[in-house]
Amino acid sequence: MSKLHVSTVVNGDPVEFLADPAMTLLDVLRDELNLTGSKEGCGSGDCGACSVIVDDRLVCSCLMLAAEAEGRRVATIEGLAQGGQLHPLQQKFLEHAALQCGFCTPGLLMASKALLDVNPDPTETEVRYWLAGNLCRCTGYDKVVRAVMDAAAELRQERV
């Protein structure tokens, strides 16, 4: 089977790659582009470890074909820190010890980023429902939720 040529933008940079039609976006990110921050926990949309933002929508990159990325903008965990400076979400995850093994963390950070992009002042309930598609086996979620609430508060401060 011939490969498909795909042009896309990843974390602001134009990127081109060749993909087998059956390859997922996650396969290409990890195995072709060496962006291994996005993880494969389940491959079936259940765990959220592969979460990325495509044209401003949070999606599971394991449930999207790489070919579908043609002409789209993809944001992954690798683009979250800016010039060596951690994003407030990353900083707060560290401060609140919102990670242990870290496998779920890139997905949780991208999901949290997508939330704060559309809702800078979420309630705790809103955070919990928004993140329901991100599974974590270690933290018990409370510290994650606190870190997201705290990062949201800091980002609101930065805006004023």
Binding site: M1, L4, D20, P21, A22, T24, G43, S44, G45, D46, G48, S51, V54, R57, L58, V59, C60, C62, L63, M64, L65, A67, E68, E70, A111, A114, L115, Y129, W130, L131, A132, G133, N134
Partner: protein, 288 residues
């Protein structure tokens, strides 16, 4: 090595041609299709991505009706204020599908055509009397949502046919709808049973028209005419609610599985029908 082809036609005619080939499968959000593909449960020859067809995504109003493009994601549906006001039950059913991530991609067309008995948007769409606008080798046709799924995993769509859009009919004053499902937790699970109710009230607050549909209690979602009729003429007094409950239970032909027994599903279907009717009634009354 996979023999899979990926096609992304930009017109309806090209999509019909691509889908008419044997082994071709439509792709919308991929939240069912890619799971099945990866699990090796199907091996299509070609995947025909419908999302590049012009006009296939988005919501527009046409003489009081809403036309929802087949590739419109759940997230986009939930953000449409006018649609949420007119059809809160349809919107809540669509928004129950999966996580935030799944909502970013999942569509009503995929939910319907995957043909799971437990698909959440389907009872709400049937109760809403939604119509599918279908393109195919023979041109355009329309069919009510309840005519699409014929058995688990099977639809009445012919080779080459696909859903282009859904139409929700114009809404009289004092109309509303609701959808409720039971799952063992609050997120990320498959319905044990689901119930959609859409109704219209007269100026005195009596139900003048009502439709009730049930999910996950039979091989396909059911439109239960007796259950709707039980509500008409009343104000959701206990008498009409218990007739609704009985009619809903009588229509059930469920299976027993890990999510629930036949007895449990049947009882719950009646309870959910009652509660969905009450929610729809309240919403319709609040408009007065």
């Amino acid at each position: 090595m996979s023999q899979l082809q990926y096609l992304a036609p930009s017109t309806i005619d090209d999509a019909v041609l691509a889908l008419a080939a044997s082994g071709a499968r439509a792709l919308s959000g991929g939240t069912d299709l890619l799971v099945q593909l990866r699990a090796g449960r199907m091996a299509p020859g070609a995947i025909v991505d419908l999302k590049r067809i012009e006009g296939i995504s988005g919501i527009r109003q046409e003489g009081g009706a809403f036309i929802i493009g087949a590739a419109t994601s759940g997230a986009v549906i939930g953000e449409h204020a006018a649609l949420c006001r007119a059809w809160p039950g349809v919107v809540e059913a669509v928004n129950l599908i999966g996580s935030t991530q799944v909502q970013g991609r999942a569509t009503m067309a995929g939910n319907l055509c995957n043909a799971s008995p437990a698909a959440d948007s389907v009872p709400a769409l049937i109760a809403a009397r939604a119509v599918c606008i279908i393109a195919g080798p023979g041109g355009r046709r329309e069919a009510p949502v309840e005519d699409i799924v014929t058995a688990p995993g099977r639809t009445s769509l012919a080779q080459g046919e696909f859903i282009v859009a859904f139409r929700l009919p114009p809404r009289p004053a004092r109309s509303s709808d609701a959808y409720l499902r039971l799952i063992p937790r609050t997120e990320m699970d498959i319905a044990v049973a689901g119930a959609g109710v859409s109704l219209t009230l007269d100026a005195e607050g009596r139900v003048s028209e009502a439709y009730v549909a049930l999910g996950a209690v039979a091989p396909t979602a059911l439109l239960v005419a007796d259950a709707g009729a039980a509500l008409v003429g009343g104000r959701l007094d206990e008498d009409s609610l218990s007739r609704l409950d009985a009619a809903a239970r009588a229509a059930c032909r469920p299976i027993s599985d890990k999510r629930g027994t036949i007895e449990y599903r049947t009882k719950i279907a009646g309870v959910l029908a009652r509660r969905a009717a009450q929610a729809a009634y309240q919403r319709a009354s609040d408009q007065a």
